[in-house]
């Protein structure tokens, strides 16, 4: 397996395009190298993206955050303000694997690995994160929920990579949260996950919200019904029950060794409800 470290996006795109899909982009490598070792993939080469400044940095400007796709979970957690402004996103990314995995694993890799159970993805969907993609045809921006098409499949064109995520600056009364259910406390893959981001007005009424669900469909989902349920209301009581019911109704999970479909349908509602309560508390509700 060839190894190439590139310094610029142009080099990365050129190199990946030239290899015609036989070389894979390498960020933290925690999925790529584990899958290679397990014999599930056998790339002829990798293009290491971690030395490209845009992929390796977190920048805060007037528009909000630009989080490099290859920034590790540990670095996300160490940023002075990201975890205050988007605690749900940072917590979701930091649920992935062990301390050792956190030293390498990135949100760009988590997204492009395209697992239905990817922890950071529902939180990014809830946050309204945009993905900045760079490929042979230039740069384009897509909402995170449009990237994953199915298990292991993304909409990225050949030679195209995720450069960064764009997260807005949250409003004054905004909060987000991500919860996942696993049968142990650490080191497991989500049975279900739910991310919620919402804003409140001065009276505690919800003025906007987004909900992302994980591990209950072939791809992480955005729950569009959440807006109609929460906006204009307090995030409490029967409103939360309605949110839970909508999350359960949207779920189309499978039975596997982690849980039955029936259990996932039920528990994704519970997770969405609890995440909404945490997000509302963080928003000052």
């Amino acid at each position: 397996m060839q190894y190439q470290a590139v310094q610029t996006l142009e080099e990365a795109v050129e190199s990946l395009s030239r290899a015609g899909g036989e070389h894979l982009p390498l960020a933290g490598g925690t999925d790529l190298l584990a899958q290679r070792r397990a014999g599930r993939i056998d790339p002829k080469g990798v293009v290491d993206l971690k030395r490209i400044p845009e992929l390796a940095e977190i920048v805060l400007d007037d528009d909000g955050y630009r989080v490099g796709a290859a920034v590790s979970g540990a670095e996300l957690g160490e940023h002075p303000t990201l975890g205050q402004d988007w605690p749900g996103v940072v917590e979701a990314a930091q649920l992935i694997g062990s301390t050792q995995i956190q030293g390498r694993a990135s949100m760009g890799g988590n997204l492009c690995n395209a697992s239905p159970a990817a922890d950071s993805v529902p939180a990014l969907i809830a946050a309204g994160a945009l993905c900045s993609l760079v490929g042979p045809s230039g740069r384009r921006e897509l909402p995170v929920e449009e990237i994953i098409l199915g298990p292991g499949q993304t909409c990225l064109a050949p030679g195209e990579i995720v450069a960064h995520f764009r997260l807005p600056r949250p409003g004054p009364r905004a909060g987000d949260a991500y919860l996942r259910l696993i049968p142990r406390t650490e080191m497991d893959i989500a049975v279900v996950g739910a991310g919620v981001s919402l804003e409140l007005d001065a009276d505690g009424l919800c003025t906007g919200c987004r909900v992302g669900l994980g591990a209950v469909a072939p791809t992480p989902l955005r729950l569009d019904e959440a807006q109609a349920i929460l906006v204009g209301r307090r995030v409490e009581g029967s409103v939360l029950d309605d949110l839970a019911a909508a999350a359960s109704a949207a779920a189309q999970p499978i039975d596997d060794m982690r849980a039955t479909a029936e259990y996932r349908v039920r528990v994704v509602g519970v997770m969405a409800k609890r995440a909404a309560q945490i997000a509302a508390t963080r928003a000052g509700g």
Partner: protein
Amino acid sequence: MKRHISTTIDGEALEFLSEDGQTLLDALRDVLLKTGTKEGCGTGDCGACSVMLDGRLVCACLVLAAEVEGASVETVEGLAEAGELHPLQKRFLEGAALQCGVCTPGFLVAAKALLEINPDPSEKEVRYWLAGNLCRCTGYDKIIRSVLDAAADVRGGAG
């Protein structure tokens, strides 16, 4: 293709040749003969191959040797200084925190990383930090207690 790699390992500037695609773990063990770092699973699940890469705890099995060009790597072999065992090593011996010993280098490196950022961890913090280090012998309790004892030693200046 063989690649020439310059790096610093346990404080020593080293150069070696690595086959492209070789992991850092395989380069440490098979090229540099630094066999203190162990292979458990090879897929990032067990933590036996834990090393510090530029001050960050990682699994050496999930890093390519080529990625450490210009970087600094610290392994269990650098833990003892001038023949003096690190307080963690002493406490692991005294506390019988190992049986077969395959997981031990990873636990020691990971625990040292924790004590560097948190010299007074709670038991819960130690358990969470070390969740990616698996031991099939001890049942963990002796390891956790030894880390807490070593933390007290380091705070007290015994280190």
